[in-house]
Symmetry: C2
Subunit: 207 residues, 2 copies
């Protein structure tokens, strides 16, 4: 496990030419639609010949799978692993919100997030693999919420799983409305989402 | 305006054969992907001949536009209009959460919601029209949040627009995870989302 994490981390940190290919390809799929995008479109966008692109990936379906798997690798490396060193449950949850949002809003992962729910192009086997990774992440977020509830002993009737899905909705929906050139900056989204969700889970007893 | 609303209402309430066509077509698009779906697929799913389907809609693009426009009509009729009779800001916001969720979870609008962010198939003119309707709805939700903040005079540093987008993310993301056959029932989602969001906006001052 440690070795696998080390690999994920080193892969994530390298942000080499392969990662750039995935990120640009994700943007092309996202903007043009997966079905309408040809491998020639991708090759042209990433500055490779079609043969050069096929050197990296065997097919369009494999490219989509690789991008989604890469999106989950990024989540693992930049959100899940850094949480290992945070002990306080509330701080852990706030950190998760910050890291997840920054991965989407400050990187070029907006398009990857947009693709993460378009698994129609995948083979059933690949779709199962991606869905398994998504479920593990939902479980992790659900556990984070559960730990906060246990610690604060407040608001007993929160179902941590439903709350986790609400949070992931808030976070992932940003790809629908966030514009890097817009008025709202990532730091404001982070602060406001942290306040909203932590206050929401802790409860005021007013409603 | 009153006349227009009356038309929207009567159209929404009729839930006639045309509405069924839209809802079933939305499910086919959602499951198979818009690009991969042919008009023959739609005709077969709704039990019409291809000629019969073309009697209702001129093209696949027009069908997609009509479905999305229908989704916004439903939101207008079943969420926005009923709020007119609710005066208290907190109750209005809670009611909006309940009605929006029930429209998605209890109707057959899950697929329509899924399509609402796949505007790639639309002409620029149609896309603009749908986006204008979406923006009006975001503004309405933002105003609802603003009214709650004004009334309660709490948590001054909430940007109502960002909070509204967070809420719409929570609500609309349900199409990603909600299963009618699953353990979590619509009433539980409604109650938990209301508590989470209202508590979140009102704030506890604990974080």
């Amino acid at each position: 496990m440690a070795t696998q994490n080390a690999i994920v981390k080193s892969r994530a940190k390298s942000s080499g030419p392969r990662d750039k290919v995935y990120e640009i390809a994700a943007e092309v799929f996202h903007n043009k639609g997966y079905d309408k995008t040809s491998m020639s479109d991708i090759a042209s966008a990433v500055g490779l010949t079609k043969a050069g692109l096929y050197h990296h990936v065997a097919s369009k379906e494999q490219l989509l799978y690789t991008i989604l798997d890469y999106g989950m690798d990024m989540t693992e490396a930049y959100v899940v692993r850094p949480l290992d060193s945070v002990k306080d449950p509330v701080v852990r949850l706030k950190t998760m919100i910050e890291l997840h949002l920054k991965l989407i809003l400050e990187g070029r992962k907006l398009a990857v997030t947009g693709l993460l729910h378009e698994c129609q192009g995948l083979s059933p086997k690949s779709e199962n693999r991606i869905n398994r990774r998504k479920k593990e992440y939902v479980q992790l977020v659900s556990d984070l919420v559960g730990d906060v509830l246990d610690k604060t002993k407040s608001h007993k009737d929160v179902n941590p799983k439903v709350a986790a899905l609400a949070l992931l909705g808030m976070l992932n929906w940003t790809y629908q409305w966030y514009k890097p050139s817009g008025e709202v900056k990532p730091d404001e989204v982070v602060r406001e989402f942290q306040d909203l969700f932590i206050n929401g889970v802790l409860g005021t007893g007013e409603c």
